[in-house]
């Protein structure tokens, strides 16, 4: 039996296909403004990789911010449930999942069976999300993909006192005006976002193993500073960005 999970987020669309033998194929694309079209493209890409046609997919579960816009989905399930299931698949000992995506971030307490025990979610503010890093990368003319490496290379960090995206950007401008090295500012930005996420996640019980999922998991600077702020090691699995899609495909397998 083949099932598919499609996770349409604010920035990227992800898909994962499961067969009886396990994870068969994955795909990640930029979502753009047309969520339905992005969903169709990522579904197509994953099916090509698996060498399957749509008819052979028994069930498709959609998740993420654009979950209701996925054409042909049998069901939509929230990204909170799907990230918990996906994280449990990637590491059965996971007990805390921190999902940091393009527009929001979540802390999820996970049971031994991959079920959600409790969760917290950021409010409307983009400060603890990938959007914060995007804005900062733009202000510092840095490559977003290189931001984490730059943060870890800095010998020291400046203090970014505000974790509001708008105010933090003006703080960055002030630091640049006083000649503070760019890497130190970038390190400060990473510390600020990690502190913001750690404060939010602190509202649930943080237990090992802690896993970072979502697109921001690709940033080693955020993972390292989250470890520092949480006082727990943070696991970043290979398929961290795909945890939601993988979880959705697993939910599709369990569905009667």
């Amino acid at each position: 039996m083949y099932t598919m999970g499609v996770d349409v987020g604010a920035i990227t669309a992800k898909a994962a296909i499961f067969g009886d033998e396990g994870l068969l194929a994955t795909a990640v694309i930029l979502a753009g403004y047309d969520r339905a079209s992005a969903a169709l493209r990522v579904i197509d890409q994953a099916m090509k990789q698996a060498g399957l046609t749509r008819e052979r997919i028994v069930r498709l579960v959609a998740t993420g911010y654009g979950r209701v816009q996925v054409p042909g989905a049998d069901r939509s399930v929230t990204e909170i449930t799907c990230h918990a299931r996906g994280a449990h698949y990637l590491c059965p000992d996971v007990r805390t999942v921190i999902d940091v995506g393009g527009q929001d971030s979540k802390g999820i307490s996970v049971g031994a069976n991959g079920r959600v025990l409790d969760f917290v979610m950021n409010d409307k503010c983009a400060a603890g999300t990938g959007r914060f890093l995007e804005v900062m990368a733009h202000a510092l003319e840095a490559d977003l993909a290189d931001l984490g490496r730059l943060a870890l290379s800095a010998p020291k960090r400046v203090k970014i006192s505000s974790t509001c995206t708008v105010f933090a950007e003006s703080e960055v401008v002030t630091h640049l005006a006083t000649g503070t090295p760019r890497a130190e500012i970038i390190a400060g930005i990473h510390e600020a976002i990690a502190a913001r996420i750690a404060t939010m996640v602190g509202r649930i019980s943080v237990q090992d193993v802690v896993m970072l999922t979502g697109g921001v998991a690709h940033n080693p600077g955020v993972a390292a500073m989250l470890e520092e702020k949480l006082g727990h090691p943070v696991l970043v699995p290979e398929h961290a960005q795909l945890a939601g899609a993988i979880g959705a495909a697993l939910v599709a397998r369990q569905q009667p």
């Binding site: 399930v77 909170i80 929001d104 969760f119 979610m121």
Partner: protein, 372 residues
């Protein structure tokens, strides 16, 4: 006719009723402690002033930014002239915001007379009842000054009986809450605060005469059952989101919800004492204190009695009393192992993030149910 469509018909009938010319003058009110019976006996129809999504900005010139939507919107509507047809506005002084609003109202809206009274903070104490009776007596005198007519005891007893019937009917609606979609349930409850009581009673009585057995596919037993906690019935977005998430509300601890309709007034004896005794017997809102009636204990018993799977706290942004109250209640639920979710409502909340939170909570409760 299915219950859901019957309820929608009723709501439409109530809307029609409100839009008709009402021969009785209307008194607006805020807070969950205004004795509607006293105003009704004086010849008014009391109507709760619910907030609206429109913000004309008039109130912003007078109120700090951290004023809750419920108080802010009522003041904005009044300053914009939307409430000019009211014969007066009634307030029970409860929280600091309402306290401040009384001064602002009197200074800026002299054409809408304000009728307010002090509701004691401590609901059981040596001087509580005496104080409240004096406040209600003073309110009765000010109503007399407004109308030129005394509020007679007999008229007050009749109004108490009418509102008792109203409360009994709303209690019957709540008894069937699990069979009614949240937007319909709270549409009916909100209507009780906005419709002349006799007309409401007539319509509801007709509705409740119909059998309420839902067809198999519409029954909600399998859906997550929650108790809803919060200040008022301000934001209908929440009820739509609960319905979208397939959540069934089996009870509530809303200021204008079940607690408001739980206690009747005595129909004989001193009618003013009946009003006072009823107000003191209501389960306290977070601005009040009663040594034996604690909200946390009540919430736990409600969860058990209604076989609820979890609790949704719908906090209105900037409502501090409910914010403080949340901590104590959440701790009590944690100790009892009852899952709970906190959502914060703003003026005209956005459904997107709210839906993700509520849906995820429903999925979590569903998983727990399957495991047990």
């Amino acid at each position: 006719m299915q219950p859901a469509s019957a309820i929608r018909n009723l709501q439409s009938a109530i809307r029609d009723l409100r839009s008709q010319d009402n021969p009785r003058p209307v008194i607006g009110f805020l807070t969950a402690y205004v004795p509607q019976e006293l105003f009704h006996a004086a010849g008014f129809d009391p109507v709760f002033i619910f907030p609206t999504p429109e913000d004309r900005g008039y109130a912003r010139a007078h109120l700090p930014g951290f004023t809750c939507w419920i108080a802010g919107s009522a003041f904005d509507q009044a300053l914009a002239g939307d409430l000019d047809n009211l014969s007066g506005m009634a307030l029970a002084k409860t929280c600091d915001t309402v306290q401040g609003l009384t001064d602002l109202w009197q200074r800026n809206l002299p054409h809408i007379p304000l009728l307010h009274f002090g509701m004691p903070t401590r609901l059981e104490g040596p001087s509580t009842r005496r104080y409240l009776l004096a406040e209600l007596q003073s309110l009765r005198q000010r109503i007399r000054a407004l109308t030129g007519q005394p509020v007679r005891d007999e008229a007050l007893r009749e109004s108490i009986a009418l509102y008792n019937r109203n409360r009994a009917l709303v209690r019957r609606i709540y008894a069937r809450a699990s069979d009614i979609a949240p937007p319909d349930l709270y549409g009916l409850v909100r209507a009780a605060f906005q419709t002349p009581p006799q007309a409401y009673n007539d319509h509801i009585a007709q509705l409740l005469e119909r059998p309420f057995v839902l067809p198999e596919e519409e029954r909600q037993e399998a859906r997550p059952r929650v108790v809803l906690v919060g200040p008022a019935l301000a934001d209908p977005v929440l009820f739509d989101v609960l319905a979208q998430a397939d959540v069934c509300v089996v009870g509530d601890l809303l200021d204008l919800g079940e607690r408001y309709f739980a206690v009747d007034g005595a129909e004989s004896g001193d009618p003013l004492a009946s009003l006072a005794d009823r107000l003191l017997a209501l389960l306290p809102t977070p601005t009040k204190y009663h040594p034996h009636h604690t909200r946390a204990a009540h919430l736990l018993s409600l969860v058990t009695e209604r076989n609820a799977d979890g609790v949704v706290f719908a906090r209105q942004k900037f409502c501090e009393p409910h914010g403080f109250d949340y901590v104590q209640q959440a701790q009590a639920l944690d100790r009892a192992g009852v899952p709970h979710l906190l959502v914060e409502l703003e003026q005209a909340s956005q459904a997107g993030q709210l839906l993700t939170r509520v849906e995820a909570f429903a999925e979590m409760l569903d998983d727990r149910k399957r495991l047990t």
